[in-house]
Every structure is written in C-alpha cells, then in structure tokens.
Symmetry: C2
Subunit: 296 residues, 2 copies
C-alpha cells in the first residue's frame, strides 16, 4: 500500500514556537521538505496574525517557496477573509476547520460546531468553484481537553456534512494526543461504513505516547494510508506543557516501511531539513540519526 504523507511542520509545528522565525528560514524549510518525498506540505495558515503571530507572513512564504512538481502545497483557511488572502497566492489546496466539541470550537475559533459550519460553508463553496482541493479538519475527533471522550457518531455526522458540502477529504485529529489504538479501532469501524477510505486522513499527536501505535493500527487493521505528521516531531500541545507534539514524519515513515508499506519519503532528508534550519528534533528516529548526521 502506498502511503500518502501530509507534512504539517511548517504550520502545525511552527505555530507552537513562540520566538518568531524569519520568513526566509520558513521558505528554506518548506523547500527542503519538498525534496524529502512527502506528498503534500501544509505551508502555513491564513489565520489573523493577531491569533498566530508566527504565521503572519503567510503570503510571503507562499510566494517565495520553490514548488516541486508533484507536491501539493496547502494552507489552512479559517474564514472568508483568510480565503481572500489565500487566493492571491498560488495555492493548490485549502483546509477548513471544525472540531467535534462545541467547547473546543469556542476556545479555538470562538464559535460552536454550528457556527464553524456557517463560517466554512462559503469558503468551501468558493474554493470548489475555483477548482481548489479542500480538506476539512475535525479536531478533537477522539478526545476533547474540556469534554472528554467524543462520541464517534458525532464525528461521523460532521464528516458526512463536510463531504456533502464538497470537501474532498477529512483529517480526523487527535488534537491532545490522547487516543489509543482502541479508540482508533472504534472510530474507524464506524466511519469506514460510510466514508470512503481514500477520503480518510488521520492526524495524531504523540503526547501520551500512542501516536505511532495509532498509525500502525489504522494501517494494519484498516488499510488507512493517509497520515499527517510533522518533521522532527515539531509542534506541541498547549494543554500539556513539555509534552510531545505532532507525531514525527521520520517516525511514521520508518514504522510504516517496517510494516511493509510502500514509502517514498526519505527520513534522513526529513531530519536533515529540521537540523539545517536550526529547529529542534523531538523524535525517536531523529535521535538515532542525529549522531550519524553530525559526523557527515
């Protein structure tokens, strides 16, 4: 099975770093990641700079990166204002946001689930009219830091509503990294009855140590082949200070190759990309490779 990797470090990783990183460094990072073999790079978010100052240079980054043939360059578009910004740069794909918890939506985007759909509906309509690919994120698809375990039926119903609107794929997020393979089995058993496999993307965090186990379970038991991951394990979770963030791309591709999957991502290049731009490595494979890289 060929694996499809969406590299989210430039967005999900960097947005958790307080110190503002120079635009040219971000551009270099995306360019290096383009050469690793990942299928897609989530470059940035067209969120209001007031909320995420780190990504205030979204347009500039998008205009300066060197596109590699075959790689899809995407960004988060949280609302119509963000969409207007995004279409001024060449963008292949946009991602819209909701979460399976009213409380989390309120904390994250200042409205509840219904409100999030009111915001994303016109964005999806406009994007599809322009022929763009559209991803729908469902954050807290497994656990919510405020509401606890999320019922799978609710997640399924949101996924079907997004697909009805014309969204091309759903990324089910374990936002706080709390899901276990048991949770993954339960949700996938429910979702795959109605959502086609090629529209299912899983987005795990490593916080509670089960991220790679979740990827392997989804692949081994259900054939899920599309995953979000972050080079170097960049990212974090504001609800668990010091804890790990996104699952690391290098750990995901190493593990899935060992499982027998077809992998075109080169994990050495992934780790090198992070090291070259001076960002920290927080991954198992990164720690194994680092001593070898430094002697090159």
């Amino acid at each position: 099975m060929k694996i499809y990797i969406t590299e989210v470090a430039p967005r999900d990783g960097l947005q958790n770093i307080k110190e503002i990183i120079e635009t040219d460094k971000k551009v270099e990072f995306v360019n290096l990641l383009s050469e690793t073999g990942v299928d897609e790079i989530e470059v940035t978010s067209f969120v209001h700079p007031k909320w995420v100052p780190q990504l205030a240079d979204a347009e500039e980054v998008f205009q300066k990166i060197k596109r590699k043939e075959g790689v899809i360059y995407s960004a988060i578009v949280p609302n119509e204002r963000g969409f207007e910004r995004a279409i001024k740069v060449k963008i292949d794909k946009i991602s819209v946001l909701t979460a399976a918890s009213d409380t989390f939506n309120r904390k994250n985007i200042n409205t509840d689930i219904e409100g999030s759909f009111e915001i994303l509906k016109p964005v999806v309509r406009n994007a599809k009219e322009m022929g763009l690919l559209v991803r729908g994120y469902i954050s807290t698809s497994f656990w919510c830091p405020y509401e606890g375990k999320i019922p799978g039926e609710r997640v399924l119903s949101l996924a079907l509503r997004l697909l009805d609107l014309g969204v091309d794929e759903i990324s089910f997020g374990d936002t706080i990294g709390r899901a276990s393979p048991k949770d993954v089995v339960e949700l996938l058993e429910l979702i795959l009855r109605e959502v086609p496999l090629d529209k299912v993307v899983l987005h795990f965090h490593a916080t509670y140590g089960m991220g790679i186990a979740n990827v392997i379970t989804a692949y081994k038991d259900f054939g899920v082949y599309r995953f979000d991951s972050s080079a170097g394990g960049l990212g974090g979770c504001p609800y668990a200070p010091g804890a790990s963030g996104n699952i690391a791309t290098e750990d995901v591709v190493f593990a899935l190759r060992e499982m027998g999957a077809e992998i075109k991502v080169d994990e050495v290049k992934v780790v090198e990309a992070v090291v070259k731009v001076g960002l920290p490595i927080n991954s198992s494979i990164g720690k194994v490779l680092l001593p070898k890289l430094s002697t090159l």
Copy 2:
C-alpha cells in the same frame, strides 16, 4: 486481562548510567518502586563488577531493600559465580542470559549461543533444586546489531531448550529497539504454537519509536500480558547514542489501561519514584505528568 509488569529500571536502567549512584539511593528507588503496584522488580545483576561497575553493590542493595508482600524481587545471574553471590541474599527469582545471535553473545558474554547454554545449565539446575523461580532472557530475539533480522525458528528453538532445562518463563528481548509490530506478529505466531502464553514475556526498547506499538499489538492481537519496562524510560542502547532506552513503565501501563487491560500499577507513583531519586524522565506520560508533580 490482568497485566504483569516486571520493573527493570534498577538493573537495565541503572547499568546504562555511567556516574555511580549511591547504594542508599538505589535502595530508596527499589523501595519506592515496590509501592507502585508492579508485580516484580529486577533489582540488580550479579555480574562481575569489572563489567558493570554500577551494579557492584548487588548484595548490599538486596540486603537493604524493604520487601513488599506480593512483589517478586529478582536479579540477573550470569554464571555460577554470580549464583553463589545471589543465594547469599534472599532472592525470589533469578534470570539467566542467552541471545539469539552468536555474534551478540560473543560481544555481550564472551561466548557463542552453545557456550551460553553451557554456562546457564548448572545455574538453572541449582536454582530449581533450591526452589527458585528462573527466567531465561533471549536477547536479540528480533534484530541483532551485528547479524540483522533474526530467524524466528532459531528463537523458538532456544526458548524450547530453555523450557526443557526447567526455566519458568522466557523474556524475548528486542535489545536494540528495532522491532516493528510486523516482527512481533511473525514471532508470536510462531512461538505461541509451542510456548504457553503464561511463559511469554516481552522486553521492548523504545529506540526506533515502535516499543509501545509492539506492546499494544502483542496484547491486542495475541493476549500477551507480561511485559518488562523501565520506570522513567531509564536505560539506553550503546549502539544508538542519544536514542531512547527501555520502554517506560508509565507509558506501558497508561497505554494498556486505555486498551482495556486490568492495570494495578499507578503511573503517577512510578514517575514520582524516578523524580524523588533524582533520575531523568524519558517518557511521554512522564512529560505530561511532570508539570503537575512540580506544583504538588
């Protein structure tokens, strides 16, 4: 399913720490671990101090620890000389050593597989005559740093030989932390045809990021319920500097509880034990808990 945890930090964890730790600190560590709910503690190794100076105080540690009713206190006994030392202190169980690779055995214990059996045979015989429990370790049961992937048939044949000698259980070690759930499935499918489930212990390292996935796979797909793990993820692998060591007890018990297993280990107490004796935390659950502990 009730999980059985052998806590190996006092031996497998500490032997990888260069700076010599005071005997009283080791005793305190074992005493704290005795209160966490683990079933067994591998207290030390009666190896010659020349090879592992850190564990030169094996007798003294064993004599000073406070035994908790219901907890089994074990140690590694690499040869007859070690056995003579071990039986002078009250010991519940001994562990003998082999590996599924001639090269690894030579590097580790200075003899090949056959030589290791010559050494361990009289130890097992004497231990069983004295009514002690005996574990057999098979290191490099999945991968060898020198010989690569190890054939499962060889591992099975060694396990059966050990059981024939009267060994009570086998701990199959992924010494370099390189095994994937695919490797685990392959080995367990083979082994469980001839080795009873209650004699199977799995000993994983976290080096390549798949340790917890391996535990979950063994539990979920085969019902394996006995695991070795190390408080705080203490330990390491001399073949991958900087890389993670043993899988952390707190990560194992958290993950297995999430999978629905019956867990009596308190992961907060495990992390506290490591922190109290001033040792480093290298685990996902540890990182989540640390900020909470420091405010207590």
